[in-house]
Structures are given as structure tokens and as C-alpha cells.
């Protein structure tokens, strides 16, 4: 459950960006890494210590920064392609996000060094419920992730901007004809997507460690989840995240040869991906769309 909620949060960013911008963000893992470092530096910075601010403030402070970061990225690198300045939109954005990912990773190496860092946990200690022990950092991660997802849902289904985002996701032309500023919605969607991914990175940085390649294994999982749930489907992403978390945990316990089971942990996700692609390529909640 705990890991599932975190998986959901990190995959939602990818899903939202795909839904609205119709592009796969290959810099997903790196966005997570940016979030991880941002939280690490904010949480360990002297301002936080000097004022005795709780670490939640540092976490909250990452959101506007990440949103702005995503917003600017969309405006600078993705907008030209959307404005039909390039002939092949799909190929262009793949190259752009892919390059961005490599750039960010290689920028982080000299900037922050290759060392592992431990982002300070908001809540230390552990909770015991019967036989079940949950570490504090994981519990915080799950609670914060859950709260963020709830806020996201309220935003998407109850506010004007959220409805606008969903409209653009369903049909950009119709949305534009109804007076919705589609380019602005796209920037916003990218900003929100990066923020969600970044918060996931900040939370994962407390549980696991922060380093320049921290996002890579999680990005693979996020792709599996999004494909499983159906590209661009918010509901599907959440369901997909829980399925993956359950399959991973039980797969590595239930396999008859326990000495090898752990070695295949990452393979279960990929197996799930292959099975999905074979039998239900549109994903659980995806639409069968044929693109020209």
C-alpha cells in the first residue's frame, strides 16, 4: 500500500503530461532526481535550520519551484514544436525530452557530485501495527502522496483550470473553440506533471538515497504503470501503481526458490508490461485510439 501510493504519485506526473501534451516525458526519472535534490538542499539549508521551520515547509517549497521549472521547460523547448515549427511533433518531443534527461543527469554529476545523500526524513521512527512495521519515512511518503493525489483530483474535477486541462486532454480543438487557452494549459500541465514527479522524488529521496541516477529505476516503473493503466488515464495510473506494487512484493516472496526471487524483483514489472502489451495494448483504462 505504502509503496503503491508513492508509485501512483510518481506515475501520475507522466500520465498527466501524456494526457494533455500527448508526449512521453523521457526525462521523467531526471525530473524526480531534480525534486530529490531540491528537497535535500532546501531541507538541509541554513534558512530552514535557522528559523527552525518544519521539514514539511521545505517539501511544500519544492512545489512552486518545480512547477516553474516545468512551466519554463515547456515554454522553451516544447512550445516551438507545438506551434508547428517542426514537421514531426512526435519525434521532436521524444528527442527533446530524451536529451533533456541526459543533460540533467550529466549536469547533476559535476554539480552535486556522484555521492549518495540522505534527504532528512520528515517523520523518523517506526510505527508498529500488530506484526506489521512501517518505517516513518515510508509512512510520511504514503500520507503526503495520498494528500497530493486527493488535491490533484479536486483540482482536476472541481476547478475551472482542472476542467480546462481535462478538456484539452480530450479534444484540444474543441477546447480551443470554447475559449480555453490551449498553449497555456499545456504549459500548466507540464508544470504540474513535473511538480508531481518532483514531489515523488523528494519523498523517495527520504526513503532511498539521493544521487544523480536515483530516478532511473523508478522511471522504468512509472512507464510500466502508465502503460498498464492506459496512457493518459488518471484512474488507470492509480490502479496500475497498486497492481505493480502488489506484484513486486508478492512476486519476490512467493516464488518457489526464495534465494533467487529477489533478483527478479524488477523483472516482474517488465513481465507485467509485456503481458499488458500482448493482451490489452491500450491498458486497463485506456482508449483504443488510432493516430494518423
Amino acid at each position: 500500500m505504502v509503496i503503491g501510493t508513492l508509485y501512483a504519485l510518481m506515475a501520475l506526473g507522466l500520465s498527466l503530461i501524456f494526457g494533455v501534451l500527448k508526449l512521453v516525458n523521457f526525462a521523467h526519472g531526471e525530473s524526480m532526481m531534480v525534486g530529490g535534490y531540491l528537497y535535500y538542499f532546501l531541507a538541509t539549508s541554513f534558512i530552514v535550520h535557522l528559523l527552525g521551520l518544519p521539514l514539511v515547509v521545505a517539501l511544500a517549497a519544492t512545489v512552486p519551484v518545480l512547477f516553474f521549472f516545468g512551466f519554463i521547460l515547456e515554454q522553451t523547448f516544447l512550445r516551438p514544436a507545438y506551434n508547428r515549427q517542426t514537421a514531426r511533433y512526435d519525434e521532436y518531443v521524444i528527442l527533446v525530452t530524451f536529451t533533456l534527461g541526459i543533460f540533467l543527469q550529466n549536469l547533476a554529476l559535476p554539480l552535486f557530485g556522484p555521492y549518495n545523500r540522505q534527504a532528512p526524513a520528515i517523520f523518523k521512527g517506526r510505527i508498529r501495527i500488530g506484526d506489521l512495521i512501517i518505517a516513518g519515512d515510508r509512512l510520511t511518503g504514503a500520507v503526503v502522496a495520498f494528500a497530493v493525489i486527493v488535491v490533484l483530483f479536486i483540482f482536476l474535477y472541481r476547478t475551472y483550470w482542472g476542467k480546462g486541462l481535462r478538456a484539452v486532454s480530450q479534444n484540444p480543438e474543441a477546447a480551443a473553440s470554447l475559449g480555453i487557452n490551449v498553449p497555456r494549459m499545456r504549459s500548466m500541465a507540464f508544470g504540474i506533471g513535473i511538480s508531481l514527479t518532483g514531489i515523488a522524488g523528494a519523498l523517495l529521496g527520504q526513503i532511498f538515497l539521493v544521487n544523480p541516477v536515483m530516478g532511473v529505476p523508478f522511471a522504468v516503473k512509472a512507464f510500466v504503470i502508465v502503460v498498464l493503466g492506459g496512457m493518459g488515464s488518471i484512474k488507470g495510473t492509480i490502479v496500475g501503481a497498486f497492481i505493480l506494487a502488489v506484484v513486486e512484493s508478492f512476486g519476490s516472496i512467493l516464488l518457489p526458490d526464495p534465494t533467487r526471487a529477489l533478483a527478479y524483483k524488477d523483472a516482474y514489472g517488465l513481465l507485467l508490461l509485456i503481458v499488458t502489451l500482448m493482451f490489452r495494448p491500450q491498458g486497463l483504462f485506456g482508449e483504443k485510439v488510432r493516430r494518423a
Binding site: Y115, N116, Q118, R126, I133, L209, S249, L262, A263
Partner: protein
Amino acid sequence: MTENIVGKTEGGSDMENKVFAALIGVLALFCFTQTGGAADAIKIGVVAPLSPPGGVETGQAIVDGAKIAAEEINQAGGLLGKKVELVIGDTAGLPEKGTAVMERLITRDKVIAVGGEGHSSVAMAEIEVAHRNGIPIVISEAWSDGITAKGYPEVFRVTVSNSLIYSKAAKWIKEQGFKHVAVIGENSDWGLGVIKVFKDNLDQAGVKVTSFSAERTLTDFTPQLLQLKNASPPVDFLVDGFTGAGELLMIKQAYELGIAPSKNCALLGAGMDTLYPGFWDTVGEAGVYVLSNPAGLPGLPKTATSDKFKEVFKAKYDREPDAVAMEGYDSVMVIAEAVKLSKSTESKVLVDALENKVNWEGTRGTINFSKDKNPAWAYHMWMDVPVFIIQYTELNQDPSKAAILWPAQFATVKSLLKPSK
């Protein structure tokens, strides 16, 4: 008409000649600078993981030690009247990168020998290149038996092998009366070797061994750790056979789940990431009572070199030297010693000098290489590497200040220290 054609052709070949001459010129210049560079300095290669997914702190420690060695050699007038230059190659802990870096060091940089490396899987790839080119390689900190067991004459090792250290550690575990040992190891040559040696040595001795292997990039060990919680007889000794982030995360997670280090279960961090400053920053209080097995501690045993190295290292990096930094230093110094003794930089002569002549007092004792091939891994090993089992007793403790449990002659405490919880 004909004239024109001839004229044109001549003009053309004139042009071609000029281009050709220019090319030759550039080429000559290139060759000249190359030989000019080689004539000025003796180049020694250092291979180390300096970016993820490699164990970067291991890599940095090797390089830190090697740099001190080069500086010391140059301050004393260099080798054969020439300066020594280190060429450092980042392998990122990936075998394919190791191969590429070795090829580059040997063919482009023309190094006379190579030292370093902290990952066995990468070392296994590197020794192939060294062997093919006949260039000596002195491994600093890769423990898989296979590295020296291959029997390549060019391969030497100034650190322990899995069999050498873990057969001793297993004996200690038996003596201490542990009943059930769990080993979680990465699926690398080193990690699988750790599992194998523990199994081989403890199974016969009647100690139960449970083992798991997993991908080196794994970050979440919770499912397996929880599984161990319900084991029967209860697990009382957990071996963390990972390097880099995995090693630190397993310690953190085992502690958070209340498994180890606890009053019922000890934890041995087999990888060297327990020795670096980053250890305490990442695991925090989970690191207290963790056991580690360094192949060397500063000043134990005391040698003239160890004191000097300790002093220089502290002045330069502002911390106590760790085993890996000492190994980095020793590997470069051993190569230099071979050059001094043979008065040559030729590969074959160097290999012969390393095998037969070197008997040099390093930071951890007098280094010479065994010619014994039984067992196979003993070939070109330094058999007297000092190994220790240490235990941290307080937060932010330097490994050199930790309690020594084994070997008996250096022990500072009688038996394992147990936390109250």
C-alpha cells in the same frame, strides 16, 4: 585543349600535394607531441568507479590514495629520472566501461601498468584487456576469487580475495556461536562470491545459512528482510553483501524494521561503503553497532610507510585514511617499486619484477606476491593482507576508532557488542 587539361591536372595534383603535405605535417606534429609527452613522463593508469552506478566513494578513495603515491614518487625525483603521471579512468562500475577505459589507457595513453579498481565484475573485464596486451595490472580493492584464479601472469592483487577473508570471517562467526546466518548479496562476481564462501564454510560447521541474491541497483530490501524476521531458527547474523547505495539502504531498512543491528541480530556490512564519511550521512544512527571488514586499518600493523601515509593523507584530505585509500596508494607504489628494481618500463620485465623481486613495505605490511597456484586464487595474491572485523560503537565514528573484534592480536574488545534494543 591538351595543355589546358594537363594544366588543370597539374594544378589539381598541386592542390592535392599541398593538402597531402599539410596532412603529413599535422600527423608529424601529432606524433611528435605524442612521443614528446611520453618521453617526459612515465604514465601509470588508475581505474576506479567515479560515477554511479559504481561505488563512487570506493573509487574516490582509490584515487585519493594513488595521487599521494604519485606526488611522493615525484617529490623524490620520479622514476628512472622521469616524472610519474597518473592517468585516471572512470569505469562507473560497469564492465563494458572498464574494458573501454583499459583499451584507452593502454593504446592511447601508453601506460606502463595499471592499478586500482573496486568492483570485481569490472576487474574481470579489465584483466582480459591487460592480459591481451601484456600490461601488468595491480588490483586495489576487488575481492572476487576469479580475478587471480584466472592465472594471468599480468594480474596482481594487493587486497584480499573473498575466500581469504570470508573463510576467516566464517570461522569467527562459528566461534562466536551464531546459529543462523542470512546473506543478501548483489549478483556481481563479488556478491555471489560472498554468498558462496559463507555457504561453503558454514554449512559444514553446522551453522544454517540462508542467502538471497539481487540486482545491484536494487533499493528496496523490505520484502526479504521481513521474510527473515519469521525465519527459524531466528536469524542472528545478517551479511549485507552489497556495494554503493544498496549497501547503505539495506542497513537503513534492516534497522528501521527492527531486525539488525539489534540485540538479537548482528549486521556485517561486507562492502566498503561502511568505511567512508558518507556512511554516517546516509545511515545515521542505524550505523551504530554495524560490523565491517576492512582490509587494513591505519597504523595496524605499524610500519614506517603507514605513519607517513597517515600524516600526508590527513593533511591533504582532513580525515583518517581508510583501507581502500591505502590500497590505492599501495598499488601505485608497488608498480613504482617494480620499475625501480628492474630499471625498466617494459611490460614483461615489470611483470617479472612484480612476481619475483618486489618485497616492499607498504602501508599495511610488507607486500610480495605469491606464486602458489593451489588454491587457484592464491596466484599473485599478497597473502599476508591484514584483515579486521570492526564494530562501530558510536555515531559518526571513524573506522580507525571503532572497536576491533578480530584478529585476536589487535582486538580491543572481547566479543560482539550488542545494542540494548
